[in-house]
């Protein structure tokens, strides 16, 4: 019967038509030539910045649109949770915004998929405006080029509860600075409190291995290497802490948020954080705030860990000159400096850290944290390998947990973690 068949065909076409839009967004636009006229409508995506910095970004966008008439920037701010999933959905669906706030581990897969613009080619002229290390932080092993403008840098201090230190017979003004001092203090704290107060609420992460002096990858950057003697030594010491109750019992399933809460309630004595946390302590835990101690990150290498943020340009943007100009505008020295004055972050532009704002004491805790952090940033290292994906982080956390529970030896656990990470690395 021809009629139902035609109707069936129509239904099938109707069914397939919307699906054809689900592919990978096509390859419209896309050129690394940023020399044309800066014009057109572009989108700019950030994570978790609207709540606190709405007026800063609206002002920034207005300034850019004023400087380049004919441009219009649409700002999209996403929640921090699930940001990578949102990016992957957009990248897969061909709706990745023109300019995107990324970190090096987010930019790596986007660059490998050809979605991040090589700024050595498109914006090489700006390279000298940034700190050398910061510019290099968005390079991806195995690819030539740089895939995002460096934006702000950060390094968190370590907070400690002076009252708990005092109760454990430790000097509240002498916080541990190296891992050996940390382990000794943590064991004493556990012993004196009868296992009720833990010193830390987190298990060691890849950054801890880096700060302990463990080589994370081989020299070629083609395989992981944190299962060496030093890595095993660090994990063995953490196992001793766990057994003694110096690590919170829920450390194996902790998230940064949950360990922050433990610190707030006085269940743990030390926790990493940022200068932003001081306001939180003041508001939500006044008694903790009165006893708050601030010290540098624990490191055995002399180099603290640095977090780097970047701004990448979508290689498929239809408005390359405008997207590159805007990404540069957001990250230029003047705008980074004014952003740094609103929030406890540090500019990645050359010479900015010498500004009196980062060097001159005024007696407040906030300034003390800021100056100490700016000083340590000058030789800080971004320990997280760019290619260390979320799946690899999970594999490491799971193996570390097995070692701490005594289900595997530290050596076996790290061998397994390296094997899993290497396999994921080879699978691309």
């Amino acid at each position: 019967m021809p009629t139902p068949r035609r109707a069936l065909l129509a239904a099938a076409v109707a069914l397939v038509l919307p699906l054809s839009a689900c592919g990978s967004g096509g390859d419209g636009g896309g050129s690394t030539d940023a020399s044309g006229k800066v014009e057109g409508n572009i989108t700019f995506e950030t994570w978790n910045l609207r709540a606190n910095f709405k007026s800063y970004f609206e002002g920034l966008i207005a300034d850019f649109e004023k400087k380049y008439p004919g441009t219009q920037v649409k700002w999209i701010d996403q929640p921090a949770e699930g940001y990578a999933d949102k990016l992957s959905a957009d990248a897969g669906g061909g709706t990745l915004p023109d300019v995107v706030n990324v970190s090096p581990d987010l930019v790596a897969p986007l660059a490998r998929a050809g979605l991040a613009m090589d700024l050595d080619k498109a914006a090489g002229t700006y390279k000298s405006e940034y700190l050398q290390g910061a510019w290099a932080s968005h390079q991806v092993p195995g690819l030539s080029g740089t895939y995002a403008f460096p934006w702000y840098l950060n390094t968190g201090p370590l907070f400690y509860n002076k009252a708990l230190f005092r109760e454990a017979g430790l000097d509240p003004d002498q916080a541990p600075r190296t891992y050996d001092e940390l382990f000794a203090d943590a064991l004493q704290m556990a012993r004196k409190s009868g296992g009720k107060v833990a010193t830390l609420a987190n298990v060691p992460t890849i950054e801890d291995f880096g700060r302990y002096g463990v080589p994370l990858m081989n020299q070629q950057g083609s395989a992981f290497a944190f299962n060496d003697t030093k890595g095993v030594e660090l994990l063995t010491k953490y196992k001793q802490l766990y057994d003694a109750g110096a690590l919170d019992p829920q450390a194996l399933t902790a998230t940064p948020e949950s360990s922050g809460k433990k610190f707030l309630t006085g269940a743990v004595a030390m926790n990493p954080g940022s200068a932003l946390d001081l306001g939180n302590f003041k508001k939500n835990a006044p008694s903790l705030y009165r006893n708050i101690g601030i010290t540098d990150q624990i490191t055995s290498t002399g180099h603290v860990n640095m977090y780097v943020m970047g701004v990448m340009v979508n290689s498929r943007t239809r408005h390359t000159p405008a997207a590159v100009a805007f990404a540069h505008f957001v990250t230029d020295a003047q705008n980074q400096m004014s952003f740094a004055k609103k929030v406890a972050i540090f500019p990645s532009t050359a010479g900015s850290l010498n500004d009196p704002y980062f060097t001159k004491e005024d007696g407040t805790d906030e300034t003390r944290v800021r100056i100490a952090a700016a000083k340590s940033l000058k030789n800080a290292v971004n320990y997280t390998p760019v290619l260390f994906s979320d799946q690899m982080k999970t594999a490491l956390r799971n193996e570390v947990a097995k070692a701490l529970q005594g289900k595997e030896s530290p050596k076996q656990a790290l061998d397994n973690a390296v094997k899993a990470a290497d396999r994921l690395l080879q699978q691309g």
């Binding site: 009629t3 239904a11 109707a14 897969p109 019992p249 902790a254 994906s389 799946q391 999970t394 289900k407």
Partner: protein, 303 residues
Amino acid sequence: MAVPLRVTNRPPARIRRQLPHSPWLFAAPGLLVTGAFVLYPFVSTLVNSFTDRRTLLPGRFVGLANFRELLHDDMFWTGLRNSTLYVLGVVPALVVLPLLLALLVQKNIPGITFFRSAFYTPVVASIVVVGLIWVWLLDERGLVNSLLQAIGIGRVGFLSDQWLLLLSAMAVTVWKGLGYYMIIYLAALADVPRELHEAAAVDGAGPLRRFLTVTVPAVRSTMVLVAALSSVAAFKVFSEVYLMAGPDGGPAGEDTTLVMLVQRTGTGLTGRVGYASALSVVVFLVTVALMLLVLRTDRREEP
């Protein structure tokens, strides 16, 4: 002159001409939605399971490699074990407890509406809120542990011990599901003829006897339906365990369920979509097998 009335059940010619199209037009919106959000993802998952596709990189056909890999993946076996344990732990409780609850709230006594609503509240509460409340209750320093400590039992690691964590998550699933299945049972109980109970009572059957010989046989089909629905839901459990055990699935990932593993493996910028699809296909097959098993039990017991 009166026109003779012709009685016919044939529709007028204009409507007749449209008839062949009409069913399709009516079905089109449904077909479209089902096609876009059910069939397409299903077929796409099936196709992806035979490729090494990544989130951002197109895949190559790799045959059964993903399925072979998961046979050697410890995490897959952990997930399968936990999802199966979840079915075994949760389904019997969700078949029996809501029935008992329905019997309790079925009675027309003053204030019973309040209790019916109270038991149904967890069903409508957001799972995230429910998860957070239970995490606070069961935390090392939470309400439950404070009470246990006060009566001298000491702290229990509900959220740090692998097995206690799984049991706690199961308890939350049962707690949240009770009201939902209670409503289904209430509807079934309303259909049980009152005369049967009265006749049994006249014959000297006590409440327990009447429950076993009258109520249970009358609601047996509903029990099978509840078993089928709850076993599929239990095998696909995600939220409760994710919220209570954390994104890694508890200490060393030991509480990971299969759906959590699919989520963890296949999402993010470096997600292994091909491998996660193979895991999803396994979840689908096991779920279908579970349904068939439960429904087959019903048929076998049919008189």
